[in-house]
Symmetry: C2
Subunit: 185 residues, 2 copies
């Protein structure tokens, strides 16, 4: 497995983001990222399946937190309340990450292939949340539709927060209320 490298994953993420910003995503190779982090390509591939994953490795952890929050929502919560708890759980992850999240967003916006992967990750989020809701006894189509509404609130709220800053934990309830109003008007 090669020698142990302290914080290798984080170093590769930081180096990757910086190179994507400076040179452009297409112009950056895995070898460039590894070299900038003072690591080998071999080490890179122990942490990431490909170049894109440098920007997406946090997303499965995020989904796990959301699923855990749905599972732990108080008995008797409505499906939408359980999903609101999942959104609130993500707010903590991003509390200190506004600058990083904006930099990442700019790289995504400049590269359609990355924006498409982001969209695909959102589909995984819908799948995970709806499965967690079904575990709680929520039936279809309510489970999937509530998960979809939750992910829509996540995307919308996250975009607002990227723009405006402030507290993500305050943004999500506001967006859910706006969505409710739009869906019933």
């Amino acid at each position: 497995m090669g020698r142990w490298e302290p914080n290798a994953g984080q170093r590769l993420q930081a180096a990757g983001l910086e190179l994507f910003e400076e040179r452009g995503y297409e112009q950056t190779t895995v070898a460039d990222i590894a070299a900038a982090a003072g690591l080998t390509e071999r080490t890179f591939f122990r942490y990431f399946a490909d170049k894109r994953e440098v920007l997406f490795s946090g997303s499965s952890e995020l989904r796990e937190r959301m699923v855990a929050a749905v599972r732990e929502a108080p008995e008797g919560s409505t499906p939408l309340e359980a999903v609101a708890a999942a959104l609130d759980a993500t707010a903590k992850v991003f509390a200190e990450r506004h600058v990083h999240a904006r930099r990442r967003q700019q790289v995504l916006a400049a590269n359609p292939v990355l924006a498409e992967r982001e969209a695909a990750k959102m589909s995984l989020m819908v799948g995970d949340l709806s499965a967690a809701l079904r575990e709680r006894g929520v039936v279809e189509p309510t489970a999937t539709l509530t998960a979809e509404i939750g992910v829509l609130a996540f995307r919308t709220g996250f975009a607002q927060w990227l723009e405006e800053g402030g507290s993500l934990a305050e943004v999500f309830p506001r967006v859910l209320a706006q969505l409710r109003a739009a869906a019933t008007a």
Copy 2:
């Protein structure tokens, strides 16, 4: 511009879908599709920018119909009613296309790169619908959220229709009602 070929676009679409099903999407080339349709590669590229577009060329026309329906919705319609009219307008397009839509869906499901493009097309649909709503005087964030709800209803209803058949025009109002219930529970 080369000689005129009757229904060249449709012949290429039909040949492409058939080859994607038989050989697989990755294993099919533009040259294969053109040959199967009895046309040249040169003709192919007059109709489609790339191999993927064979499956997506209808999507911009679909968005245009939706935008037209939003524009033509009666004065005094709520944003959600205008979006419901856009969904209803798409139902007509697919009235005779259930078999084709299912075949296309199976090719998409087997190829992540195609599923990602489908998701990207849905983002374009959100953008077009929200712009059409803003033209009607709907303000943000209502315009975008209502467009998002509309596209969510479109995706969900379309998937149900692929599965169950029947009339898409009856599916959409039912899904919108389910969404309303999920968003307010």
